[in-house]
Amino acid sequence: MNAGVVADRQGEPDRDLAVRVLAGDEPAFRQLYQRHTPRLFQLALRLVGGDTADAEDVVQDTWIKATEKLDTFRWESAFGTWLGAIGINVARETQRRHGRRREVEWSDAAEPPAAAPLERLEPVDLERAIAALPDGYRTVLVLHDIEGYTHEEIGAQLGVAAGTTKSQLFWARRAVRALLAPEAKGRLT
């Protein structure tokens, strides 16, 4: 299916808007921006660990890179997917630039609960636990468990083997469970 000819829920297909953007049409860009930025911003916000200013920078740099490369996009995937892939790379650059290490205290030796009692879990607690993860763990968990990427897709996106992302996901889930354990939740701020 050619994603570029599928009319978006808001009307004019992405591909038509992109053609207009390439011709310098600012209203077309704004339409494209308004259509795709909420998803991009939420993704960026999670990948950078909840820092709004960083997420806004990621959104801005992503749109700049996307607009620069727009004439080379082959429309073999949905525009939003392509934009998200650029956003992931930009977010990783931001992580590297800041040298952020959100190390949290949990012991790999200790056995965290295999599954935390999440039935009564508030989304804000889950978000905080994800934000508290080290960058690598958080990236894999967000892409796999929230965004629905496969390990192969994550591996290709991040330039690592699928086995590596599986391992990171294992440790990421383990860390989230440890952070959500009743005795650990006080550390989530």
């Binding site: 600012e26 921006y33 930025t37 911003f41 939420q42 959104v59 295999a114 989304p123 889950l126």
Partner: protein, 188 residues
Amino acid sequence: MNDPNELSPAERRALEALPRERAPRAELEDRVVAALQRRGLLPIPLSRADGARRRLTPWLVGAVAASLALFVGGFAAGQYVGSRSGAAAVLSGVQASRGDVAEVAAHAERAGAMYVAALTALSRLSDTADAPTRATARQAAITAFGAAASEVAHLAPDDPLAAAVLRGLDERAQGQRPASSTRSVVWF
């Protein structure tokens, strides 16, 4: 169920319940558009009505600052001095306005008109002047233009038009740098 490699149904539900979209601050859209314009990826609108409204006050206040500097100090090495009385009037008017935006805006409009009139007169004089005089006149006009753009950029850092003007002037200055020792500098 207890396989630590797998999510429990409750965990899966909790993750699926997290929002996939969140709207950023509305200001980010204009910031992104301005960033694209600065990089030449979108054109800079010169006459869009809503943009002009949004930039009205910074433009006018910037024009006041630049125009006052222009007229009070005189320019073009004395080639044009007819506006000094007008400059004094603008200066006293702005001082009397005590920061009232509407009054400052009105003075800015008058100063802007005087600025254009001065450049017109300068242009006429230049038609009959020798090459060094024309160069001095051109430098005076461009310096005033740059001063105005600089004030606008100071008051509205995201203004794409001011950024484009300053970028162009900067590129022009860099292109002229080898000859800078002979360039006439008009200070005001």
